[in-house]
């Protein structure tokens, strides 16, 4: 909250020098951490791996690691979208509604009208449809000039209502063959000692590709810098010649596009299209991005950090069973974990600020 350090209080004269030096180092380390946001989630990842792996060596089995990667794909795609919007100073909560509003009609339409369509055009349809819905968010943010969080709460309700009122509500299992095939396509296949098939699904690459492209956009194009500029201060950015409304359009379209792709991947991975799916996961996706070092106030955040943050959240969800936490208490443990991470970041920010 406050920028001044309250770390140093009346310390006795003797130990004073040593103490202020240690706070100094801590401050420096903290600022280094703030500027390398992927480090914290990475350390967490390693720590959790070590602890869980010790308690239950099964953790290190390929099958389990593949599972974590597979489960990270959809939240990861969504998280990249959240990151881009957050970097531009907004907050989007409509992305799950977009994903659902894209995946369901696309799956139903393709299997009804073009059941032989390949996965590439389906992904493209998802990306375009998601991008268009995202653009609606962007236009509303520009026109209504209200905080993005509020507008996307509105569009979340509207998109979801639209889907369930006018498109359909029934579980759809007859998804196009190309989606089923792509969902089962494996990069790597093996069999465990106990005779179970394990596979690293190829659609993990979709996440990887999205992460790389998003990184390129953020770091190697002018609009990437413009996104952070607007996130830092949209008024100042406007005065310096950045086209703020175009940045808004872009980030929401990008987030929408990623959400559309995530929706398609969700159907592909699960082999069914349930219009009720994904709703309610938006906060944990946002938590993953924050855990990856992006600030809720905007203007910061990195792709690597976001990927790490997603993996951490997926990992925690996954390992509690392995460690033997009874399922009734898993939610509480997850909550406690998020709180601990929040406390860590708060402490870090204070150390970084109070030089």
């Amino acid at each position: 909250m406050t920028t001044m350090s309250e770390a140093t209080t009346d310390a006795p004269a003797a130990g004073e020098d040593a103490m202020s030096r240690s706070t100094l180092y801590k401050g420096r380390a903290a600022r280094w951490m703030v500027r390398h946001p992927a480090v914290f989630p990475f350390v967490l990842l390693v720590l959790i791996g070590l602890v869980v792996g010790t308690i239950n060596p099964f953790f290190w089995q390929l099958a389990n690691l593949f599972d974590i990667l597979r489960a990270a794909v959809v939240p990861g795609l969504l998280a990249l979208g959240v990151l881009v919007v957050l970097a531009a100073g907004g907050l989007d909560v409509s992305f799950t509604a977009i994903a659902a509003l894209v995946m369901y009609p696309v799956a139903v339409f393709v299997s009804g009208s073009a059941p032989d369509l390949g996965i590439a055009p389906i992904l493209l349809m998802g990306a375009v449809a998601g991008g268009l819905l995202g653009t609606v968010n962007g236009i509303l943010v520009n026109v209504l000039k209200a905080p993005a969080l509020i507008i996307t709460i509105g569009t979340q309700y509207a998109f979801r209502g639209l889907l369930l009122t006018f498109v359909g509500t029934a579980l759809f299992t007859n998804i196009p063959a190309s989606m089923t095939r792509f969902g089962q396509l494996a990069l790597f296949r093996g069999t465990t000692q106990s005779g179970l098939n394990v596979a690293l699904p190829a659609f993990v690459l979709v996440f990887l590709a999205a992460a790389v492209v998003t990184w390129l956009v953020l770091n190697r194009t002018l609009i990437g810098r413009a996104i952070y500029a607007v996130g830092g201060s949209s008024d100042i950015a406007a005065r310096l010649g950045y086209n703020v409304s175009r940045v808004h359009l872009f980030v929401f379209a990008w987030a929408g596009m990623l959400a559309g792709v995530a929706g398609i991947m969700h159907v592909t991975a699960n082999r069914l299209a349930n219009p009720f799916d994904l709703a309610g996961t938006e906060l944990s996706v946002i938590a993953a991005v924050i855990l990856g070092g992006a600030r809720i106030t905007g203007g910061t955040g990195t792709v690597l950090g976001t990927v790490m943050g997603t993996l951490v959240i997926t990992l925690i969800n996954n390992v509690l069973i392995l460690v033997g936490v009874p399922s009734n208490w898993q939610t509480a443990i997850l909550g406690a974990f998020i709180l601990l991470a929040g406390l860590f970041y708060a402490r870090l920010d204070r150390l970084a600020a109070g030089r």
Binding site: I153, I296, G342
Partner: protein, 330 residues
């Protein structure tokens, strides 16, 4: 703060409330405007309304303040209150003390939960969205852990059931309680030192600190109060349903934010009015009941809420600039 009594939100919300009632008279039968239905609607407002008041307080505190843990805490309060009450009092012998123990237990959990939120956000400096997301999961998780996920039956206690469901002199008691609490919160915001400090802190936290406002304690008290409001909501829910369960009202998280925002509470902090929150909650209730009367699907209601929110933003756009602050240079 200027032109307070006639600000555009208030007018707009009054208009929406009136418009829905008029529309209902045209579109549905006379049942909608019957006393029974008004009582029925009034008794549905408090649970969500109380949570929205908590969200409002959190939003006023600024710096992206928000409370996502409200309904989770409300449910946990109900569950723990129930467990304490069942363990100590036999409801068939002493129903009144059973209810009192239940309510006190629930309030106690509200106090503890609110204090946890307040301490995390105020003293430990955790961003409120992260802190309350964490506590939301934590409270929910504890509730599941304590109950194994099943509903806890309070049993039929006529006195408590009447409190939840039977109007006195035409007014549902839970609604009356809600209005009293809303008035108290409004008075607190307007006439106490805490209220003044809260608004100022919400509009510029750094200046507040420099000016000697104890920002940490103000933040603590804000979320503490929000926690207490949540536990009252938990008691109201228990009274209305005679049971407590960990996943009651999962849709309330965003709905409470929706109400606060439609009430014109500024998400950047520093501005919000209780009367608008009450009117906003009642507008949504009227609309939702109207749709139920018209046998329109709940999905359509979600759609309508979203569009209504966007329309509201479009409406306030006319006037937005005059009450949007001059941007502070960074």
């Amino acid at each position: 703060m200027h032109h307070r009594s006639l600000d555009p939100q208030l007018l707009f919300l009054l208009f929406v409330n009136a418009a829905v009632v008029v529309a209902a008279m045209v579109l549905t039968g006379p049942e909608f405007t019957s006393a029974y239905n008004f009582q029925s609607m009034a008794s549905q407002v408090p649970e969500l309304g109380l949570l929205a008041l908590g969200v409002m307080l959190a939003m006023i505190s600024g710096n992206g303040g928000i409370d996502l843990s409200g309904i989770a805490l409300a449910n946990l309060a109900g569950i723990v209150g129930y467990q304490i009450a069942v363990a100590t009092v036999d409801p068939s012998v002493a129903p009144l003390s059973y209810i009192l123990v239940f309510s006190c237990g629930a309030l106690l959990i509200g106090v503890i939960g609110g204090a946890i939120n307040g301490a995390l956000i105020g003293y430990a400096g955790v961003t409120s969205i992260i802190a309350t997301l964490g506590t939301q999961l934590f409270f929910t998780g504890v509730a599941v852990g304590l109950t194994g996920g099943s509903a806890q039956m309070l049993g039929y206690i006529p006195m408590f059931d009447s409190f939840g469901n039977v109007p006195v002199m035409g007014i549902p008691l839970t609604f009356a309680l809600f209005i009293i609490i809303a008035l108290a919160v409004a008075a607190m915001l307007k006439f106490t030192k805490f209220g003044t400090h809260l608004f100022l802190m919400g509009s510029n936290a750094k200046a507040a600190y420099f000016a000697g406002i104890p920002v940490r304690s103000v933040l603590f008290r804000t979320f503490f109060l929000s926690g207490i409001l949540a536990s009252v909501a938990g008691i109201v829910i228990a009274a209305r349903t005679s049971s407590v369960k960990w996943d009651y009202g999962t849709s309330y998280v965003l709905a409470a934010i929706l109400i606060a925002v439609m009430a014109g509470v500024r998400p950047q902090g520093g501005y919000g009015r209780v009367v608008c929150v009450v009117l906003s909650a009642s507008a949504l209730q009227l609309l939702s009941s109207l749709f139920n009367f018209m046998a329109l699907s709940n999905f359509f209601r979600d759609f309508a809420w979203g569009v209504l929110l966007l329309m509201f933003l479009a409406f306030s756009r006319f006037d937005y600039r005059t009450w949007l602050p001059m941007r502070r240079p960074s």
